[in-house]
Amino acid sequence: MTVAQPQEDNLLLEVKDLRTHYPIRKGLFRRVVGHVKAVDGLNFDLRKGDTLGLVGESGCGKTTTGRTLVRLLEPTSGTIRFKDPDLGWVDVDAMSRKEMLPIRRNMQMIFQDPFSSLNPRLTVKSIVAEPLVVNKIASGQELNDRVAELLKVVGLRPEYMSRYPHAFSGGQRQRLGIARALALNPRLIICDEPVSALDVSIQAQVLNLLEDLQSDFDLTYIFIAHDLSVVEHITNRMAVMYVGKLVELAETEALYYTPMHPYAEALMAAVPIPDPRVRERPIRLPGDVANPANPPSGCYFHPRCRYAKDICSQEEPILRELAPDHWVACHLAEDLSLRGVMGGQAGD
């Protein structure tokens, strides 16, 4: 796949210096004594039709990023620009609650746990219809028809409409979550670990469904996941996060086979390859993930990095474009030759 340089009319989302900090409160007066910098200065663009993978270890800010983008969480600073099909470019970060309503029609979310993201007291019909009702798009028979159609699209039978979520398996529930996200015909869907709660055979069904929907409805995905095999399969671009920052952003294939950031290298080397003839030793990362409330100086990764030099503990690296559409935040990136997944060798 060749990459066109990001062009304005091709873009759907533009994120600049996005920060989401959670206050830490202590004492009788709940004074703010510090901040957990869950998302700490993200910059990236999202093109139409892309599937951008967002990976990193737990606590690195993937989910916070996803939720901030649709304003389920308030950003601390930075801008999120979204190209709404009706309104044109809008600053999502500056919108009021009321102004967000029409914009959110085009930005939807699918959640990880299909057991807790569906209200057990509502029927399937009310769950899937809720976005349509809230936005006063359909009612009565029209609403019924629309829900039936949505269920069909995600591969469920319309007769199931009057059932409750408990009557469905995990995979079917995730389909319901997808139907709900599709109800308003959105442009962007943020999928937060959509398949990690599912069994392998069911996971494939949902991944295929997401791929089909993408081509049928012209969708753009941000795909948050920790399973790197799934991410490689479904995404065409990928961003690696470490303690609230992007450390590498590139086309998926480039990131897997020629990573440029030492953290991405360790991540790729850790993927358990389902092939007994390829057994590799992982790269050990000493110590623990940095504390986002009190990150180390310079590059956040330097205490665990096996290539670290003096500069790494003193200066914070910025995300820069080292190869076409391959962005890295590492001082030493030019001088390192890092190992990709399967030793950089693509299999058959």
């Binding site: 069911i202 069904q205 095999s229 993927v271």
Partner: protein, 361 residues
């Protein structure tokens, strides 16, 4: 049958199995019906090797392990079958089966099984936070296990605990021994769990999804650690997981389970390069694989796993199988058969043998 008297000293060069499960049925009698979690599991755990047990949730992987430890609690019950533990002692180059214990015959609360748990068979669980006691230090919990099974003084038990923590590469073991579980990270907790399981040098380690709750980099480190310990101690491991990548990276043999039965068992290479059961094949085709540059579409397995309360006639996989033969697969249960060209490869499918198992049920 309590336990056999020590057998006539059978001295062999390499013993075959350490744990032998035969036709094990474990049912759960719940208010909504009987859940037939295990429907005749037969499985031999080869001595000194790592046996992977894979399958989707509800296939009975964990219940098999819990049955072997006699940790199945009411309303669950082992209703049929046997689990035999061979106590093996190594003398020089020779191995001797010193005792054969029928675990299913033991009282689950009795002293016999309690002496086996921890010292002969130890278990690592998925979530280290829920399996470590939050109100005792890590050291305390390891020392407790050592004092329970070995005749040593408390000081010596503490030294052993520190040693074993070093062995699992817990950073700063001298201090970590006095830490509470919440003071450790997920990976460190799992190391502490492994240390506890290894503290009495069990001959069989059952690891139930030991890395599922961990991040990918931590997972790789724990797997590496388990591989190293395995090589050093020659311990037999039964590794339960749903992740085929983890299986490929750690196991010597694999047993694939589906709906309470083992459907295929083979050396690791045969499972990945020469799978025979349609379920194993389908499972391998349905996972995204890194390294296939041409993005192939995944082939999901149609349908869902039947719920364990229902009874499926014939082969339990027949309604999802792409090679379903009406009149055969839905009537009789195929028997586990050894492939003619590979004595280590067994499969339970009518494509490979016409042998049936018992009466249709």
């Amino acid at each position: 049958m309590e336990s056999h008297a020590p057998n006539q000293a059978q001295t062999t060069e390499v013993p075959k199995t350490i744990l032998s499960i035969k036709d094990l049925h474990t049912y759960f009698y719940t208010v909504v019906g009987v859940a037939r979690a295990l429907n005749g599991v037969s499985l031999d755990v080869p001595y000194g090797k790592v046996l992977g047990v894979v399958g989707e949730s509800g296939c009975g992987k964990s219940v098999t392990a819990l049955s072997a430890m006699r940790l199945v609690l009411p309303p669950g019950k082992i209703i049929q079958g046997s689990i035999t533990l061979n106590k093996i002692r190594k003398q020089g180059d020779f191995y001797q089966v010193v005792d054969e214990i029928d675990i299913t015959g033991l009282d689950p609360h009795g002293s016999k099984i309690r002496s086996i748990r921890g010292s002969d068979i130890a278990m690592i669980f998925q979530e280290p936070m829920t399996s470590l006691n939050p109100s005792y230090t890590v050291g305390n919990q390891i020392i407790e296990a050592i004092l329970l099974h070995q005749e040593v003084s408390e000081d010596e038990a503490r030294d052993r605990a520190i040693n074993i923590l070093r062995r699992v590469e817990l950073p700063n073991a001298d201090a970590a021994v006095d830490r509470y579980p919440h003071e450790l990270s997920g990976g460190m907790r799992q190391r502490a769990m492994i240390a506890m399981a290894l503290s009495c040098t069990p001959s069989l380690l059952i690891a139930d999804e030991p890395t599922t709750a961990l991040d990918v980099t931590t997972e790789a480190e724990i797997l590496e650690l388990m591989r190293e310990l395995q090589a050093q101690m020659g311990m037999t491991t039964m590794f339960i997981t749903h992740n085929l990548g983890v299986v490929a990276q750690t196991c010597d043999y694999v047993a694939v389970m589906y709906l309470g039965r083992v459907v295929e068992r083979a050396p690791i290479d045969d499972i990945f390069y020469n799978p025979h059961h349609p379920y194993t094949r389908a499972l391998l085709r349905s996972i995204p694989r890194i390294g296939k540059r041409t993005k192939q579409r995944l082939e999901p397995i149609r349908g869902v796993v039947p719920d364990p309360y229902s009874r499926v006639s014939g082969c339990p996989f027949h309604d999802r199988c792409s090679d379903y033969m009406p009149g055969t697969c839905d009537v009789n249960v195929p028997a586990m058969t050894t492939l003619p060209d590979n004595p280590e490869h067994q499969v339970r499918c009518f494509l490979h043998s016409e042998a049936t198992e018992g009466e249709p049920r």
